[in-house]
Amino acid sequence: MLAELGLAALWLCAALAVLQLVGGALAQRDGSGELAALVRPAAIVQGVLAMFAFLMLLWVFAITDLSVKLVATNSHSMKPLIFKLSGAWGNHEGSMLLWVTVMAMAGGLIALVEKRLPEKTMQATLAAQGFVALGFYAFLILSSNPFERLPLPAVEGQGLNPLLQDIGLAFHPPTLYFGYVGLSVAFSFAVGALLTRQVTPEFARVMRPWVLGAWVFLTLGITAGSYWAYYELGWGGWWFWDPVENASLMPWLAATALLHSASVLAARDALRTWTIMLGVVAFSMSMVGTFLVRSGILTSVHAFAVDPERGSFILMLLTLYIGGALAVFAVRAGSIAEGTRFKAWSREGALVFNNVMLSAILGIVLLGTLYPLLTEAFDVRVSVGPPYFNPVGAIFTIPMLLVMGVGPLLRWRGDSWERLKWPIITISAIIAVVGLLVLVFGDVTVLPLLGLAIAAGLAIAAFLPLRGRNLRRVPIATWGMVIAHFGIAVSLFGMASETAFTQEKLAAVSPGGSEQVGDWNIKLESVDPVAGPNWTALEARLFVSRGSEKPALVTPQARNFWAPPQQTTESALLTRWDGQFYAVLGDQAEDGRWQLRLWWKPFVTLIWYGGLLIALGGVFAIIGRVRSDLRRRAGEEDNEGNSPEWEQA
């Protein structure tokens, strides 16, 4: 019964999406059709119904209703409740339902609260949102029905992949989906603005919180995904340039570019068509990402439960949305008047540089990700990895990072070299000194060396926009920028340090024996069997110490899950302020020795702390933007350009 209610809600949602699309489209023609008045309510009700459908799915998972196919194939009555619930979206059908639910809720939210744009533009936006949602409803109902019943209820569920039975992973995919969906809202705003030729600073301000929100979620999703891969796969790496990782990185790159260009549009009324284009590209990248992840068309270490046929459905949707948007763009872009001019040496100029570099990096990642598909057409199998992505990406990343240090110091419209001479000299000097120090004292390859040096320079540069200002009066959005840029520096430092200074040892150790990695002394006490709720494991007891420190217990495991039967290696981590000790237990050799893989990774944690800082900066920016927008709406009109203080500074 619950499942049928959920399915019925989905059908209703689809019908409302049609109404939204038709009503919004008619409104464009005759201005105020009768259906037009229904567009907003339709979007709101659709949001509520989609939420209802998703709650039904959660419910059937919570009570482990084994007559529902999805539950029978992905859950198990003996699982802890939290994993029963997360199992609801830890599979293809459920995750797609989560996607449309979030999208419908976002559509409902803008229909409910967004009153700043002209009504016609809003209707066009909601029509676009309905169009996108409709494709996903069709996808769900026709080819991925999460509520499908089994002819005969299963006796017991098949369980959830143990690699997915992890609290981090329970929240990782939803985080990315929130990001993807946020970009779909930005896309709809862009299409709406394009259709009604209302590409104004106001449009950028309305769109910006959605882009920022999407960007914060993507940042968190990527950060969490990277940490998950790091400790769960047991390979000690934090980024593999895997197609699924790239699938989350590409929308992030596009969203980063978009939020910066939207800032220019909001503050200075420049980069109009470019911002629209980026809105389209950013959502395209979300769709490409979904396609790559869901179709399993590329080999990935993260790929779970993939299905090529569904992939072609997503590909079809992708072509439809993007083709449609680009067609509208081609027809309308010419009629969008050009925005305000600016000089190259200005805040706008730096942001344009940032945008071009981000687009180039995006292109490089996209080409590298799709290249195996291209060559496969000629029956040549290749894989593309770090030897391509690292150096080629760095060629564009390094100049971008350098300009990132200076850009926020520049004035809008135009600036003088004299004013910025000293900050630039200071930043360059820090980079040069740190670079030289690393070169002299460390045995480091070129990229990590540059990474360390630039990270040091950027860490200082990030705070320079606060120089000479009353810190209490600095707008929240500016703090957001400072924190996010500082987060980039922190993360970069972690990446470079891990790459440059990691120490690794692979050893076979008898119980009682010990090993040495860098300054660390590791003693293997014993390897014992242990048991958990749905697994048994062999657990190594390692006592790890450095210098005169008291030895700490570290317990890597080799786990055997029984539903479904599978082995996993559970790495063990010991975190210190200056890095992480990482241990993995392998097999036992015939002579009784145990394989151990041990790493000391200096400052590796900064990678993820940096990611969190970047996201935190985004949150500050949203708060600051929304607050100043609310104030402006309350009637506090600035005299020029309608932009907050720091944007004029």
Partner: protein, 162 residues
């Protein structure tokens, strides 16, 4: 980006043109660089029979995909190096050496993709092993390979029946 001259007399149309061409130049540059990088840095995938028939130069990074031959997994004296044979379940057999922790589902008669390079003696030195990592997931190359084999077997067994 370091133009600090006076107000330039660019018409709005021209600035848009300049920006578009700058973006185009950067993107074309990026694409050219990417193509160059892909040509030189992509990792080619080999099946065991291809590797035996036309081995790539020693030291070139490649990927080898196949089945782990039955009874071929051996642990060396150091306790950390594993030797095994990757086969296509016909004649082609490639010896592989790997130092490290084996993937969770690395077992005999199961698919594996090894990343690494051939050494001078014709032994594949693997730096990384990718095994299927859940019950349902098989590396794509292996999936297709087994379909291919199944088709071949069907062809052979039905030969001359019509």
């Amino acid at each position: 980006m370091s133009d600090n001259g006076g107000t330039r007399g660019l018409k709005p149309k021209h600035q848009r043109l300049v920006l578009v061409s700058l973006a185009l130049v950067a993107l074309i540059g990026a694409s050219l660089l990417a193509v160059w990088g892909l040509r030189s840095q992509a990792n080619y995938f080999y099946l065991p029979d291809q590797l035996v028939a036309s081995p790539p130069p020693a030291g070139q990074a490649i990927r080898l995909g196949g089945m782990v031959a039955e009874g071929s997994i051996q642990t060396m004296g150091d306790g950390i190096t594993i030797a095994f044979i990757v086969t296509d379940q016909k004649e082609a057999r490639v010896p592989v050496m790997f130092s490290g922790i084996l993937p969770d589902l690395f077992v005999e008669n199961s698919g594996v993709v090894a990343e690494g390079a051939l050494d001078a003696k014709g032994v594949f030195q693997a730096e990384n092993l990718l095994a299927k990592h859940d019950e349902n997931y098989v590396p794509k190359e292996l999936q297709e390979m087994s379909e291919h084999q199944a088709a071949k077997m069907a062809e052979e067994t039905t030969l001359g029946l019509d």
